[in-house]
Amino acid sequence: SNAATPSEPLQQVLSKTRMSDLVRDIDPNIYMEDEVEEILLSYVDDFVDRVLNGASMIAKHRHVNNIEVKDVQQFINRNFNMWAPGLGTDELRP
């Protein structure tokens, strides 16, 4: 469905399978408790919402009608001290 009804329960953006794959890639000896995994999964939901909110604010500040990759990159760069990899080498500053 295309309707984004707020009452709809939101599906988690990260699956346990994907998380386990990543953890195994980092170090196959890591054992992660279920509780820790749950915290990280909900952290990712929160992270995504914060990024979307921040990128929306930046896009609005630029007086454009949609979020562009550079808005996401700028928010991430400023708030998480990391670089969003790949996808274009656009100038960061508008």
Partner: protein, 70 residues
């Protein structure tokens, strides 16, 4: 027009769930729907973030185990 890609892209995040959140966010801010590249870059960023956190947690765990040993 719509760009169709021949290569299969594997994303870290569940794209349906992510698109849903994107729609909610842009509706809240009165923006139009962004391109698929925005979803892709958010997915990559989330992957980097989780990787960084798990690596840090692994280091903390290692230190804790060392302290137990000594």
């Amino acid at each position: 027009g719509t760009q169709i890609r021949s290569c299969k892209e594997e994303f870290f995040l569940n794209m349906n769930a992510l698109q849903h959140r994107i729609r909610l966010a842009v509706a809240k801010h009165g923006l139009d729907e962004p391109s698929n590249e925005v979803a892709a870059v958010i997915s990559h960023a989330a992957q980097e973030r989780v990787k960084n956190l798990v690596e840090k947690l692994a280091i903390i765990t290692e230190h804790r185990l060392e302290m137990v040993k000594s």
